[in-house]
């Protein structure tokens, strides 16, 4: 595996572990952007990260935030994504575990905010055959085009969350603050007017495989965490089995490679936004 030379990819922050996954005094090896890393957790709980084969590259930057361990291999010109809800303490935090996906991180992100697959991939939970229509939503750029948002999304969901007792129309906003991060803000079924959050922090190993680190911040006092976790894993494993069959594994960004419909507005915006960002890693830039 070779370390990417893509500066746009290198100069970003990535989650490489959930901090409590690595006990004190233990180390773990992993791969980020084609670069092998050794992560070591000292007895004081602090983390160090070194390149397995340095080849003259600077040591990685390491931070702990939101319970996750973040690494940058380059010189990021921005901070780790701001998610103020982590410090609000009104929701329950659930670490959803790592899931490996043999596809590009961008394929995972695109699938995450796609609404039209709900009825056919998550039948009985996030969608149903009788209500497959994707109502109109809008796409916005925020923070000087740093962030892509799909807002006002809605869908009729038979069982929108582990806490759901009946079908309801659920409103969503999707936030994509970096090519490899997406956070959903979804109507809480327990506290009307408040939002639950589900976030994906993707660790791209190479251009065609990644690990998805993810969390939920939910209003749910009823269900035990394991019950909520089983609900999420059911959804995620369904997505994963679809992602396995998407080709090419890298995400095509040329308009000539797609035949979109109105419901794909967020996907199209994501692909154009990635194209403009100058990112090469994990993208298929062939025009036909």
């Amino acid at each position: 595996m070779t370390r990417t030379t893509d500066l746009v990819a290198l100069n970003d922050w990535y989650v490489v572990a959930f901090t409590s996954e690595i006990p004190k005094g233990h180390s773990e090896t992993t791969v980020l952007l084609g670069q092998s890393l050794v992560i070591y957790r000292g007895w004081d709980g602090e983390f160090q990260c070194a390149l397995a084969h340095g080849d003259g590259h600077p040591p990685p930057l390491v931070r702990q935030k939101y319970g996750f361990l973040w690494v940058s291999l380059g010189r990021p010109d921005h901070d780790i994504v701001s998610v103020p809800e982590f410090s609000e303490h009104e929701r329950r935090f659930i670490h959803r575990g790592r899931i490996g996906v043999p596809s590009s991180g961008q394929r995972v992100i695109e699938n995450f905010f796609d609404l039209s697959h709900f009825s056919f991939v998550h039948t009985g939970t996030l969608g149903g055959y009788e209500s497959a229509e994707v109502p109109k939503y809008s796409v916005e750029f925020r923070e000087q085009e740093r962030e892509l948002w799909a807002v006002g999304c809605s869908f009729v969901q038979p069982k929108a969350s582990a806490a759901a007792g009946a079908a309801s129309t659920i409103y969503y906003d999707y936030r994509i603050p970096s090519p490899f991060i997406s956070i959903i803000y979804k109507d809480s079924l327990v506290r009307p007017g408040r939002k639950d959050l589900i976030g994906l922090f993707i660790q791209p190993h190479d251009e065609e495989s990644c690990t998805v680190h993810s969390f939920a911040l939910v209003h749910d006092e009823q269900n035990v965490s394991t019950h909520i976790l089983h609900f999420y894993h059911e959804i995620f494993a369904q997505d994963r089995s679809i992602l396995l069959h998407q080709t090419p594994k890298k995400l095509p960004v040329s308009p000539r490679r797609e035949i979109p419909t109105i419901s794909d507005a967020s996907s199209i915006a994501y692909r154009r936004w990635l194209d403009r960002s100058g990112l090469q890693f994990g993208l298929d830039r062939a025009s036909a």
Binding site: F18, E21, H95, R96, G97, R98, I99, G100, P102, F120, T123, Y129, T211, V224, S225, T226, H227, L229, H230, H233, E234, I235, F236, A237, Q238, R240, S241, L244, H245
Partner: protein, 212 residues
């Protein structure tokens, strides 16, 4: 009521859920945090099952900690037709033979799948060859059976042999093992999916002909 220690992504647990669904047997699931919690490996769980595996079936005071034994137990107790565990001597032997095959030769497919899903690693070349060797045994058996109008692993009706072999084989792609070269397997998958009462698990999609 029967209780089942269960994890949604466990294909072993799905074998039990599927047989229960096909026979109309109700059970109460006890959900275990297998990933990322690893709760089944903890000392507390060893009090429930010293082998620290799931599924575990609790039927009254009786506890069973082995998938094949659970399938046999449910078939004996809840299938008066005796179809799912045939009492005919040869068919009984063949059924148990496939249960052993599922536990031994197909265990690799199960571990490749869980490793791949939990980002713990991918298949080596040797493992890939072993996986395909096991799949080829099922493929050849099914293809030969079709010539003799035997459409199930044992005889002309589904048995718990089909229930034990179906999940690890159909879910092989989840573990990075492709199924393109096994046409008889695909035809058999479709027959399983059309059984009355069939249920899915994540990674397995229903037969949608006539639905959408």
């Amino acid at each position: 009521m029967i209780q089942l220690y269960d994890y949604i992504l466990s294909a072993e647990c799905y074998k039990v859920r599927l047989l229960c669904a096909l026979l109309g047997v109700k059970f109460q699931p006890i959900k275990v945090n297998v990933h990322p919690g690893g709760d089944h490996l903890k000392p507390e769980f060893a009090l429930i099952n010293p082998r620290r595996t799931i599924p575990v079936l609790q039927d009254g005071a009786h506890r069973i900690c082995d998938t094949n034994t659970i399938l046999i137990h449910i078939a004996r107790r809840h299938d008066p037709s005796e179809q799912w565990l045939p009492r005919d001597e040869n068919m009984f032997d063949d059924t148990l033979g496939w249960l052993g095959f599922a536990a031994k030769e197909l265990d690799l497919l199960q571990s490749l799948r869980m490793n791949s899903i939990t980002a713990a690693g991918s298949a080596s070349r040797t493992e890939m060859e072993q996986a395909h060797a096991a799949l080829t045994i099922v493929e050849d058996h099914l293809a030969e059976g079709e010539l003799e109008r035997r459409h199930w692993l044992v005889g002309k009706s589904p048995t718990i042999a089909d229930i034990a072999v179906f999940p690890p084989t159909i879910l092989a792609p989840d573990g990075g093992v492709p199924l393109e070269r096994y046409p008889a397997l695909w035809r058999w998958f479709d027959r399983v999916k059309k059984l009355h009462g069939f249920i899915v698990m994540p990674g397995i999609f229903p037969n949608l002909s006539g639905v959408v």
